[in-house]
């Protein structure tokens, strides 16, 4: 039993593969088509990811509130549950049962679809995310490309939401967001490319395994910084939170959203925050690898550490202006990323 638990945590790939093989065998023995089993297994992954997504969002919102409060010499939520840990649950519960308003002038179908689009693109990223050894829904051989492609998708939902609201603030928020995500995608791709050069693979599992014990952060310090900045901008968080800038655009593309639809956006936003941390730790911090502790724990610790960094940044800096934001991407990050890629390529060839 102890052996089994140890394997479950430390050699999850063996255990999972074993289970999957056994299931396939008994399935085949009954003569049922294996494609259904594959579908069921994928469904199990999806359910697991959904549960994780919800729990993680609950935790991460609470975490951000507490961390921000401590940085601001106050206490943060502490009345609902121990240390206020259930505060997010109360907020979610309230949003669920609140009146859902769809403005008369809105494009109703698109207005309804937008939050789902955003959430779906977020959810899809979990497919390639390696939580631990073998703990990945599908370790695609083009995982990195998949990640880059899907992470750009959420902009469609945001733009749709902003446009469908038929409100100028929403529209401006949506437009800003589109411009921002598209321009920060470029340096993000270039930095990720240098990681791929180092690892010699686009499969995320291979990238994790190819890293030295200290991760790629020491080989790619500039790359890590660039990736952090670019992904921070892509998830629309401060100081790049222009699409939903309170003092300028009321709440940007979210202005007309209420109740459940807002909650979905909110959920997607915080899941994206986690994903930014998760991918940064996968690509630069050695992912789930680490001594002693089980890989899952290492992975979560590293991810939450990066999340903490992002929270720290958010609560320290004022917001950028739109044109400065674009300048930062095209005039600073892009040349840096190119130079970083060039240097990496040369070094990989020479060494």
């Amino acid at each position: 039993m102890g052996r089994f638990l140890y394997d479950l945590f430390y050699n999850s790939d063996l255990v999972l593969n074993g289970w999957s093989a056994a299931a396939h065998q008994s399935w085949a023995a009954r003569g049922w088509p294996p494609v259904i089993l594959d579908g069921l297994l994928q469904l199990a992954w999806a359910v697991a990811a959904a549960v994780f997504l919800a729990l993680n969002a609950l935790f991460i919102i609470w975490f951000e509130r507490k961390v921000a409060a401590r940085m601001q010499i106050r206490r943060g939520p502490n009345r609902v549950g121990p240390w206020g840990i259930l505060q997010t649950l109360a907020d979610t519960g309230k949003l669920l049962i609140k009146e859902d308003i769809i403005p008369d002038a809105a494009d109703k179908a698109v207005f309804r679809a937008a939050p789902l689009l955003v959430l779906a693109s977020t959810f899809m990223l979990f497919v390639v995310l390696p939580f631990g050894k073998g703990l990945v829904a599908a370790d695609l051989n083009v995982g990195l490309v998949y990640f880059l492609a899907i992470s750009g998708l959420s902009v469609i939902g945001i733009l749709a939401g902003g446009w469908a609201s038929n409100n100028k603030y929403s529209l401006m928020g949506g437009m800003r967001s589109a411009a921002q995500i598209v321009s920060y995608e470029v340096p993000a791709v270039l930095t990720v490319l240098s990681v791929a050069l180092l690892a010699g693979s686009l499969r995320l599992g291979d990238i994790v395994r190819a890293q030295p014990s200290y991760g790629y952060i020491l080989l790619q310090p500039v790359g890590f910084l660039l990736f952090l900045i670019a992904s921070n901008a892509e998830i629309n968080r401060g100081p790049f939170d222009l699409p939903e800038a309170d003092s300028e655009l009321v709440s940007g593309f979210l202005t007309e959203y209420s109740a459940m639809r807002f909650a979905i956006f909110f959920l997607a936003e915080y899941t994206n925050l986690f994903l930014a941390g998760a991918f940064a730790s996968t690509l630069f911090l050695g992912g789930w690898r680490g001594p002693l502790l089980p890989p899952v724990v290492w992975f979560l610790l590293k991810s939450y550490f990066v999340v903490f960094l992002l929270i720290w940044i958010r609560w320290t800096f004022p917001r950028l202006r739109v044109d400065h934001l674009m300048e930062l991407s095209w005039k600073v990050l892009l040349p840096l990323a190119l130079a970083n890629l060039l240097v990496t390529a040369v070094l990989v060839k020479v060494l």
Binding site: R65, G76, Q87, D91, K98
Partner: protein, 172 residues
């Protein structure tokens, strides 16, 4: 409503009362602990409202954390300051834009009755109650942040007394 009313149907079910009361408990706990305010400062009271949100008083502790600039996500409107006639249509619109259930807190003398401007002012509205239904009045000119927090806790208590069987406090 006739017999098809879902509330009475549930109540007629065996154990329906238990279901309703535990549902009430869950809903009221969520609602009362997550009151997001519409950022709506009119005058002096707005400064004390800001102070209530700042470090010393920190209303985030009670779940009033998220100041919402858009009425679409606000649960309560704290009318903090003097209401004059030019502002009336705006306040009414804002109230209508808030999703149900929604609450209104009249903070300070001006929002309660017109405060010091009751006499000799040709523009004053004598209390925001003339425009929108008010749940809690908080006296003071301006009320201290403690008074505001106290008033909000009274609002929380009133929300906890609600039941899905009855109409919410405010049926506008």
């Amino acid at each position: 409503m006739n017999g098809l009313d879902p509330h009475s149907l549930v109540l007629r079910m065996p154990g329906g009362n238990v279901l309703i009361s535990s549902l009430d408990a869950a809903i009221n706990a969520s609602r009362s602990n997550s009151l997001w305010t519409l950022t709506f400062g009119l005058a002096c009271c707005a400064i004390e409202m800001m102070a209530a949100g700042a470090s010393t008083y920190d209303w985030a502790r009670f779940g009033f954390e998220v100041p919402s600039a858009s009425p679409r996500r606000a649960d309560m409107m704290i009318v903090a300051g003097t209401v004059v006639r030019k502002m009336v249509p705006v306040i009414r619109t804002l109230y209508q834009q808030m999703p149900d259930p929604k609450y209104v807190v009249a903070m300070g003398g001006c929002a309660i009755s017109g405060g010091p401007y009751v006499y000799d002012s040709y523009t004053i509205v004598r209390g925001v109650e003339e425009i929108v239904p008010v749940d809690v009045h908080i006296p003071g000119c301006p009320p201290r942040p403690e008074a505001l927090l106290h008033g909000l806790m009274i609002l929380q208590e009133r929300i906890r007394g609600q039941s899905v069987k009855a109409a919410p406090v405010n049926q506008a």
